[in-house]
Amino acid sequence: MASSPYFSLAVLFLAALLFGLAPLGLAWVWARVFSPRKPNPIKNSIYECGLVSQGDAWVQFRSAYYLYAIIFLIFDVEAVFLLPFAVAFTGLGVAACISMLIFVLMLVEGLAWAWAKGILTWA
């Protein structure tokens, strides 16, 4: 087993795992053993700036918000990829430029779809 090329990796993995878990475990044991517990209903209630919390946190959000998520994604992803493209622009070949244009075109297509659907107008 020790001759396996993955043995040292496994040891390192275990050490990394322990490195992360040991402090958590120690903190948990410390809290269990040494910190006196004084719970009561008021203390355990939800913190709402001193007020009694109203209703439930499990409320539903309108699924129609996916449109905003998509539009956000279009511009977000575009910005992330356009910046390195602009930085490396002078040293790029024709093939790279064309593939980038195709990528931008795909995102523009999404924008055109949103525009055609009429969700860019504020109702």
Binding site: I42, Y47, C49, G50
Partner: protein
């Protein structure tokens, strides 16, 4: 137990002698985190205390926590109206032990200049135990720093076992402080008998009673 002179003598030789209790209290008093919570004009002085000129960071208390779960100290800085009192008491309850309270300024102590107001609580110590009172209207930042040092001295002097130990180390100690509710004329109950044993004069009544509940006079 090493006596104090020997400890100082050893300290001069470069040997540090301490006890668990001292170390524990040193740690507690050196990182008293106040709750980020201000009620009125005193809060402005409290903010000034944390800023560069007065620099509360010297006392390890600059970290104002926005949640009671992470705070050790409540500075009641200003007039507590009867509308606000239940919230203050609930926030105090939601803080984790050990917790301390500084009543800052005349209003937090007694109602101050607004004491006669129908909507002003006449001292936050009617509902929660106050460790340090600072007089003043408002107290200057130096006064708040003085209160901090007083509180640190108090924490330093608390034994961890036996009589006089802090509430959180006492399994039988009462740690729930009932939140008052808005009644028809006043907060109900008008005080927490556990922390304010004096009976409070009822609305419209001119009776005065002593601690045992006996009527002492009928005039005001």
């Amino acid at each position: 137990m090493v006596d104090n002179e020997l400890k100082i003598e050893l300290g001069k030789q470069g040997i540090l002698v301490t006890t668990i209790e001292e170390l524990y209290n040193w740690g507690r008093r050196s990182s008293v985190w106040p709750m980020q919570f201000g009620l009125a004009c005193c809060a402005i002085e409290m903010i000034a205390t944390t800023m560069a000129r007065y620099d509360l960071a010297r006392f390890g208390a600059e970290v104002f926590r926005p949640s009671p779960r992470q705070a050790d100290l409540m500075i009641v800085s200003g007039t507590v109206t009867k509308k606000m009192a239940p919230q203050v008491v609930r926030l105090y309850n939601q803080m984790a032990e050990p917790k301390y309270v500084i009543a800052m300024g005349a209003c937090a102590i007694s109602g101050g200049p607004f004491k006669q107001g129908y909507n002003v609580l006449k001292g936050i110590d009617r509902y929660i135990p106050v460790d340090v009172h600072i007089p003043g209207c408002p107290p200057r930042p130096e006064a708040l720093i003085q209160a901090f040092m007083t509180l640190q001295k108090k924490i330093d002097g608390q034994p961890l076992t036996g009589e006089g130990r802090p509430r959180f180390l006492d399994a039988d100690a009462q740690c729930e402080f009932p939140v008052p509710e808005q009644g028809a004329h006043d907060l109900e109950p008008p005080s927490n008998q556990g922390v304010w044993p004096v009976e409070i004069q009822g609305v419209g009544s001119r009776e005065r009673r002593d601690i045992d509940g006996r009527q002492v006079s009928t005039d005001h």
